[in-house]
């Protein structure tokens, strides 16, 4: 009965939070000897368990995501998708992986061989490191660091350099073009991303992800209600760095062959592909944690395992990424950079200003959260709708790029290539 | 046992290496990289002092490092802009050939 009412916390057999058995194991190891000599064994075991869990989770998630993504995108585009290998094409990811492993791994003769081999390996590091701080449950964080939000941004800012390594060492002009495009896009979209995360940190007063989830639990609200502008700008700017279809100018196959991984074949290409999926999953996980309550689900997390809730949210939000991928066409690079600097950046700045005002009003006057939070929610939602719609109406591309009817013969002649 | 002196030695060696790079390289970008290494060595020393030396406000070392990082970012952007500008005007970034003011 106690289990049913959700009061089985912190025992080792309480599997609703897989941090409990691990914690019990580490405590048991730390108790060896006189209680201090074997702490280093505890550290090593904890690190190994965390690394193995993240590696296992990412491996399984990537295999499943390949199938889910291909199937969903093909349904959006009115195709069948993989349906030959196994039931419903379920074995397609396995077949893909086997095929990639068997392929010959070519190395360009004039390229820089060490950097060329290093790039697909190094590009895995940021992905794995981001998963290290995601709270899968109240105690299921591999490394609960106090500056996790900033850490995620810092780790993400290392990816463009690795893309540059891949593009430069290939000694191929398409690779280098793709790498330069990728860097230009990544450093443009980093700024609105940081500003939107700044809004969240200001509002909650926490920089660790578990603290942000607990803040949402305390006030019983998802942050997307209170911070719709930040959620929007974060989603757009973070998904822009993923090199997926609406923003995949770094590997636009109709323009620059395959961008920075033109020269990569076999499993090295497979690693780039896997990292793209892993990064997309990481972005949806961060989005779920910051704006959708993470492992907390209005008290249901007492009965349903917290990590199942988190995984569910992560996969549902991954669906948003799949839909954007399946429905939007690729943008040009100037449109993308304009979008970052002229649309997302002002919105994120306005959001930071508004959040600072609201936090001042709330904290300085000591108004209770029950009164002030609904007001903020209504104000912020209205503000974001007005800003987005107004911006799109008055500054967007729509009005200027409306096709114009040719009225005079000179108009048509001017439009013709000379 | 690791104490303050260990970190100071590492910081000093890194500063020396940075100075060596800044003095002996021909390419302006590499000189800038030497300067960045020197700034980082100073940062390491400051944080080590803030960790190991008795003080009323030990956090002051961290604040100072934050300011150094800010100034270094500003310095790097302006200096690299100057490098690009010099290349456009003179066709080279070899500091030995940028000698217009030399008598």
């Amino acid at each position: 009965m106690t289990a049913l009412s959700g009061f089985l916390l912190s025992q080792w057999y309480d599997l609703r939070d897989l941090g409990n058995p691990v914690r019990a194991l580490i405590d048991w190891i730390n108790g060896w000897g006189d209680g201090t000599t074997f702490h280093w064994v505890g550290y090593i075991v904890a690190g190994l368990i965390g690394a193995a869990a993240i590696g296992l989770f990412l491996g399984i998630a990537m295999l499943s995501l390949i199938w889910i993504e291909r199937k969903a995108v093909s349904r959006i585009q009115i195709r069948y998708g993989p349906n030959r290998t196994g039931p419903f094409g379920l074995l397609q990811p396995v077949a893909d992986a086997l095929k990639l492993m068997q392929k010959e791994a070519l190395t360009p003769l004039a390229g820089d061989k060490i950097v060329f081999w290093l790039a697909p390996v190094v590009i895995f590091i940021p992905t794995l490191l981001v998963f290290g701080v995601l709270p899968f449950g109240p105690k299921m964080t591999a490394a609960n660091i106090s500056v996790a939000v900033l850490y995620i941004v810092a780790i993400g800012s290392a990816t463009p350099l690795v893309i540059f390594m891949a593009g430069w060492s290939s000694n191929n002009k398409y690779s280098l073009l793709g790498a330069m495009r990728g860097i230009a896009m990544a450093i443009s979209y980093e700024i609105p991303m940081v500003l939107s995360l700044l809004g969240v940190v200001l509002f909650t007063g926490h920089m660790d992800l578990n603290g942000i989830v607990q803040w949402q639990q305390k006030y019983h609200v998802w942050l997307i209600v209170l911070q719709p502008l930040a959620a929007l700008t974060y989603f757009i700017s973070a998904s822009a760095e993923l090199n997926r279809t609406p923003t995949d100018i770094a590997e636009a196959e109709s323009e620059i062959v395959a961008g920075y991984h033109t020269e990569y074949s076999g499993m090295k290409f497979g690693l780039f592909y896997a990292v793209e999926l892993g990064n997309a999953l990481a972005v949806s996980g961060i989005w779920a944690t910051l704006f959708f309550g993470g492992w907390w689900l209005f008290g249901l997390d007492r009965w349903i395992p917290a990590w199942l809730i988190f995984l569910g949210k992560m996969y549902i939000l991954y669906g948003a990424l799949i839909i954007t991928r399946g429905t939007l066409p690729r943008l040009r690079i100037d449109q993308l950079l304009d979008f970052a600097w002229k649309f997302l950046l002002p919105l994120a700045l306005v959001n930071v200003l508004v959040v600072a005002l609201e936090v001042t009003i709330w904290q300085e006057n000591g108004i209770s959260a029950g009164i002030v939070l609904p007001v903020f929610a209504v104000v912020n939602i209205l503000l974001s709708v007005v800003l987005v719609v107004g911006y799109v109406q008055s500054f967007g591309f729509a009005r200027r790029q409306r096709p114009r009817r040719a009225r005079l013969i000179t108009d048509t002649l001017a439009a013709m290539p000379q | 046992m690791v104490s303050l002196e260990h970190f100071l030695v590492v910081g000093a060696v890194l500063f020396g290496i940075g100075l060596w790079i800044a003095l002996s390289k021909r390419n302006a970008v590499l000189i800038l990289m030497g300067i960045e290494i020197m700034l980082n060595a100073v940062n390491l020393t400051l944080v080590a002092f803030s960790r190991f030396v008795k003080s009323d406000t030990p956090i002051a070392g961290h604040v100072f490092v934050i300011f150094i990082i800010t100034v270094a970012a500003a310095e790097a952007s302006v200096a690299l802009a100057m490098v690009v500008s010099v290349y456009r005007n003179r066709g080279t970034i070899d500091v030995d050939q940028i000698d217009l003011l030399r008598f």
Partner: protein, 182 residues
């Protein structure tokens, strides 16, 4: 700071940072030098974590490994490639001497000064840094923002202007990206 973990971590990181700094000097290709420089920044960030300076470590990663690394890469790609080899001037020997003298002096001072030691083990530095920046160091904080604005405008003015190697009629480095209406 004692125990197996911190001590071994210190020696590994010391070797890594000094080695990568030396490789910046020794690397033949300037791109390799940049990559070693980024490795140096990352190992120094790990050293900051060892010194329980978490915020500074993350700021180091963000600004140095992310922003300055990318900036340097851009600067290299915008400048000539023929100067990427044979990069030492005749001051290699004197430079090494100067670096050794400075480092030796600092090491001598470090070992011959009686430091009032303590162990300030911060659990988390973010709150403390925020309080310090906005109370005691509020004026330098504001001046830093002015400095950043000045640097940004300065960089744009220096590089922008009337570009000589752009196509005629263009007005700046982003001119190639200007949308053509027709």
């Amino acid at each position: 700071m004692s125990g197996v973990g911190p001590v071994s971590a210190f020696y590994v990181l010391a070797v890594l940072s000094i080695g990568s700094a030396l490789m910046v000097m020794a690397a033949r290709s300037i791109i390799h030098a940049v990559l070693f420089l980024v490795l140096f920044f990352v190992s120094l960030a790990a050293m900051f974590v060892l010194l329980s300076a978490d915020f500074v470590a993350v700021a180091q990663l963000l600004v140095y490994a992310g922003a300055i690394g990318v900036l340097v890469v851009f600067a290299i790609l915008l400048t000539p490639s023929r100067e990427q080899r044979g990069m030492e001037t005749k001051f290699v020997g004197p430079g090494l001497l100067a670096g050794a003298v400075v480092a030796g002096t600092v090491i001598f001072i470090a070992f011959n000064t009686n430091w009032p030691t303590a162990s300030n083990d911060f659990p988390s530095t973010v709150d403390a840094i925020g309080q310090a920046l906005l109370n005691r160091w509020a004026l330098p904080f504001e001046i830093a923002s002015v400095l950043l604005i000045a640097a940004m405008i300065g960089a744009i003015v220096i590089v922008g202007g009337r570009g000589v190697d752009l196509d005629p009629g263009a007005a700046g480095p982003s001119a190639r990206l200007v949308r053509r209406e027709r």
